[in-house]
Symmetry: C2
Subunit: 342 residues, 2 copies
DNA sequence: TACATTCTTTGCCACGTTGCAAATCTGCTG
DNA sequence: CAGCAGATTTGCAACGTGGCAAAGAATGTA
């Protein structure tokens, strides 16, 4: 574990430390003989460049931070997988931090007791409110891309789907399969979160387009987007005097919980209650019944996010851009039109 | 983004750079007045210590690497969640790398083109074979803890469950619920992987203990432990002349796929086929039917792994230890004894 | 007042690397 | 063979920090 340095290599290869560095960094003008000697010495000593030292010199660390609420939420782990892979292709490695729905911690990660030059950039998938994002001084923050949330204000690069339209499509799909009493699960108590608000807006617009009356009883909040919250929400919906014949969940994970609740209550999916989610996590493809959903292409999100982040790292002052990633409604068994009596 | 350094703070606070460092590091003998001035200057300039520089000086980075095959496999993402949280409590942050079932990349991550002093330690959940582990020169590697795989050879710290016993319990549980034709899914083509072999051993021993004849047709390989592999394996089992009445899957994810295949084939779980997995991922708790499994406590694994790693970082030469984490059989609906005819 | 003791503050240097620019060497031209 | 361009190699310094030990200030003691 004792560190082998350029000096050691230089000594063994009988060249200057600087030359070793040249070889390591593929500097053009190095004679074949010297290169061979240096490489041999590197090999013999097991020399590895000390990235910390290199980074101190160059100002780059080759590390990115990916900040998500919880890595064990499938949407985020699937996204992380894509991000790590794409980052690797760009020569970066990825540190992952979880905010765990802790507002204070999120703000801290963001504005920076931790902004310590250890990372070249940040991919941030925040829960913080728009106000808080707006409160960040862009100049004091590392190159940062916001993922999947919030409205674009021109201060930070931003990658997201069109939440309002996605929700509209999901709801309209339920309407198209003959549903009339459509619930929405996932409104957030904190009204300043953008994503749920946009999805609710899309849901309401779809109802209006279909000439359906919105019903406050059918709009159920979910403090977090976990299976448990979907479960609880669906149970509550099923106890209504006139329960819904379809549930639009703001995430697939909510939908997984809702599906379980519906079946625990002895109702059939999709016959009695149709369910649709958003995210397209693999779990939904194997669920019984398989879950209809609005698919977000995480590979595309990761790819665009990294392109954008790398560009910003190289060119910190370029104007912020917003990228809207397309989504796709995927119809599976949980909304499949079956023999319906009623 | 221009870096504010101790020098800037020192200039503003009218003290030496060294004094700023003393304040930042809570050195005991600093007068209240100076401390106040320095803190004020830090605040005014927005100074944050440059971790790269600090790390170069101290030799510590505060970063750990967690290396897993795929972060979007629920077992690993749930483990990662625990690791990140526990690491954070120890003052470390966690970089995640995926080997993606790529052997070459795994070896590389391990032995080190990447062992570049950027991390203080490694948590490694490997797929590599025992031979490869044995081939690593412990002296050249960062402090490392092996997670959940392989037999203990005294060269690396190692944390795992007793795979053989876990498999034995799972199989015995199936026997106890009246199953007689019990399949096993998850044998690995590469015979040198330890975990699947240990699980197969436990499975076979349980059959023997129950006086049941092993049947090669019932032992199905799975190249990877994904839902798809479980699905394919189960489908194959169901086409046998005498299909199994129970399937023991070597991971919950395999079991999720198997459950789907069984139901796609029109068989009932657990009535026609009982299914049990290993891991206890949350997905299984919400599955329909809920999945019986052998639970591994990921919080305990993460906690012990970090304790162990931190100890090793502080004391690199201490003898390697092996920690066996307890497991628990959890009976849920997928093996629940129901009316069985036949 | 002189001296010991303790508290504060500081200067110097190194961690391992690479940018810069200068030094040295090679081969070629005339 | 001088002179020159280009190739190759090198020394120096610096990135920002903290360890070390010493310098300087303050306090207590005789």
């Amino acid at each position: 574990m004792s560190q082998v340095t350029v000096k050691d290599v230089a000594r063994l290869a009988k060249v200057s430390p600087r030359t070793v560095s040249n070889v390591v960094n593929d500097y053009t003008h190095v004679s074949a003989d010297v290169r061979r000697r240096v490489l041999a010495a590197i090999d013999e000593l097991g020399y590895r460049p000390n990235l910390v030292a290199r980074n101190l010199r160059t100002g780059r660390t080759g590390l990115l931070a990916l900040i998500v609420p919880e890595i064990d939420v499938p949407y985020f782990s699937e996204l992380a997988r894509a991000v790590i892979d794409v980052a690797s292709a760009h020569g970066y490695r990825v540190m992952i931090d979880q905010t765990g729905h802790d507002h204070e911690r999120e703000r801290q990660l963001l504005t920076g007791s931790d902004r310590t030059m250890l990372f070249d950039g940040i991919l941030f998938s925040p829960l913080v409110t728009q106000d808080e994002i707006d409160g960040i001084d862009a100049a004091t923050v590392l190159p940062m891309i916001l993922l999947g949330e919030h409205t674009f204000t021109g201060r930070f690069d931003h990658i997201a789907i069109d939440n309002e339209r996605a929700a509209h499509e999901a709801t309209t799909h339920l309407v198209a399969t003959g549903r009339r009493r459509i619930a929405a699960v996932g409104v957030q108590p904190r009204e300043t979160y953008r994503t749920p608000r946009q999805r609710t807006a899309g849901y309401l617009r779809a109802l209006a387009d279909a000439g359906l009356q919105p019903d406050d009883d059918l709009v159920v909040p979910a403090a977090q987007y976990h299976r448990r919250n979907g479960y609880d929400a669906a149970r509550r919906l099923l106890t209504l005097d006139t329960p819904p014949d379809a549930i639009f969940c703001y995430s697939d994970l909510l939908a997984m919980g809702a599906m379980r609740a519906v079946q625990d209550a002895g109702r059939r999916i999709p016959d009695d209650v149709a369910i649709v989610g958003i995210d397209d996590i693999e779990e939904g493809r194997y669920a019984i019944p398989s879950l209809s959903t609005v698919a977000l292409d995480k590979d595309v999100i990761a790819t665009k996010a990294l392109e954008q982040l790398v560009r910003r790292i190289e060119e910190p002052d370029r104007p912020a851009t917003q990228i809207v990633v397309p989504h796709t409604l995927i119809e599976r068994d949980s909304t499949r039109v079956a023999d319906r009596t009623g």
